[in-house]
Symmetry: C2
């Protein structure tokens, strides 16, 4: 029988440590060529598109995530897992918890691989679902001492502060501007919907690691090229997907493309990560195709 999971069931069953471990394995599998993740495909439907991102873990499973661009109030995604030996549909998740926790876990793996070992403070700009899942995953890879939160509305940042304290048991406070959110922070997360830069790279501390979760394309990015200029290490979960964006991703065009490395390669030890405590490391999250199915497989195994 096919297992059908709702968002509530995913939230109840998936802990951050499991998610981060699964996504680390997914990145390594992609790096080693065992996880195949072709470019996304889309079917136009008049006023919106249905988009499919597929993945195939050789000899194990294949599947996809589907989502649409209609922007309906309760628009739900699907993640579908087929058994590779039989073709049977093993599991389906309806909603968006798998997708957003996958993105959070990518951020957690990036922090684990690239932030200083003693990183203990996080500054986050943005207070939506993506900001939350980043903190959820980061708290699983570093013992956090304090989180600072800025977002445009006081109510939004206070709500995230309360959730961090209640669910992660980490001290958190809201601040009134982006600069104060990232000042003296070991880890910075940008998880906004802003198409223009929300901070200057000069506001970051030496040794900081940054996760970029929002817009990051030429002409539409929550940060400026000053951040890429300042990065000593520039990584992404999928260089192939980063290069396929339209308009292109800032980090996937020159002079940055030559320095952009795969997070999987850093995990595998074939490309260097951080080498000194004062380097600035930057992770551009694109959402490795197939990684949602990877997570659903782990969750229902």
């Amino acid at each position: 029988m096919t297992v059908l999971l709702t968002d509530a069931e995913v939230a109840a069953r998936l802990d951050a440590g499991t998610a981060v471990a699964a996504i680390r394995d997914a990145l390594l599998a992609a790096e080693q060529g065992r996880l195949l993740a072709p470019p996304r495909v889309a079917a136009p439907l008049g006023g919106g598109r249905i988009v499919l991102t597929a993945g195939h873990l050789r000899d194990d499973w294949y599947g996809f995530r589907s989502y649409d661009t209609f922007d309906r109030p309760d628009g739900e995604q699907l993640v579908v897992l087929h058994d590779a030996a039989t073709g049977r549909v093993r599991a389906i998740a309806v909603g968006e918890e798998i997708g957003s926790r996958r993105t959070g876990a990518l951020g957690g793996v990036a922090v684990d691989a690239l932030a200083r070992p003693d990183a203990a403070t996080v500054g986050v700009i943005g207070a939506g679902r993506q900001a939350w899942t980043q903190l959820w995953a980061i708290a699983a890879v570093r013992p956090l001492r304090e989180v600072t939160v800025f977002s445009r509305t006081p109510a939004g940042r206070e709500k995230l502060v309360a959730r961090v304290e209640a669910e992660l048991g980490v001290r958190a406070r809201a601040v009134a501007d982006p600069g104060r959110a990232v000042r003296d922070r070991d880890v910075v997360v940008l998880a906004t919907t802003s198409p223009t830069p929300v901070l200057s790279a000069a506001e970051l501390s030496p040794g900081c690691h940054v996760n970029l979760v929002g817009y990051k394309q030429v002409g539409r990015a929550e940060f400026g090229v000053d951040l890429l200029d300042r990065a000593d290490v520039l990584a992404t979960d999928s260089p192939a997907q980063a290069g396929a964006y339209e308009p292109p991703m800032l980090a996937a065009v020159e002079p940055y493309a030559g320095r952009l490395r795969s997070l999987g390669a850093v995990l595998a030890g074939t490309r260097p990560g951080r080498s000194t405590a004062d380097q600035v490391t930057v992770f551009c999250s694109v959402g490795l195709a197939g990684s949602e199915v990877f997570l659903l497989d782990r969750l229902t195994r």
Copy 2:
């Protein structure tokens, strides 16, 4: 909550009359531009592809069918129905009953629209699932007197004969060659996996209607061009999809393409169907995209 339907549930809940009525409405909606059905898209996954055919009934629903080409023993398809107002996933069917009953119902609509009003005998070549769903749907649009069945193995044809008698209450008999299956028949169904012609058009009776369900492309077809030459009326459920096949469909290239009409246009009365009792009518079934979602909507409304 999302409704999840298995093949057994679809089979138990869907009667042929409902399926034929739904698919007639789908063909009319496509003809009138209310049902949008873009070309299929596919993601390559190493050794196979995941294919998505999407549909959107304006102001009502959107969704898709997904299937793969891995050819696994229990390979299952998905049909997914989103509410157009909210984006919520209303229903998912796992398996292939919706798809094969949709194809059967297309054949039923074609027989209803194009066969003689007094058609009462059916000859079918092929004895698989597609042959069965054609008979299931045709029995809902004409009171049948007798069905003759040919397929390559005696066991296969005897099994279909037994099912027709048991489930449709129609007299049926197996015959030992294709010519005897179609001789003096009012309706003929080709539902084989043959890449080469299984009968000569000369074996068909005047006034016969033919449903073509198997291969129908240039270089790979269960019939020869003699059948298209003999057809007085040549129809398909989707001229756009027929024209997009690779290699092209025989009926979608000249000299036949100019005569190929949409079954929806025949239903709408904008293109003629049969005009005399001795005309030969031929329906090329391609599987209108979105029609599986249409059927799932009717089934779960």
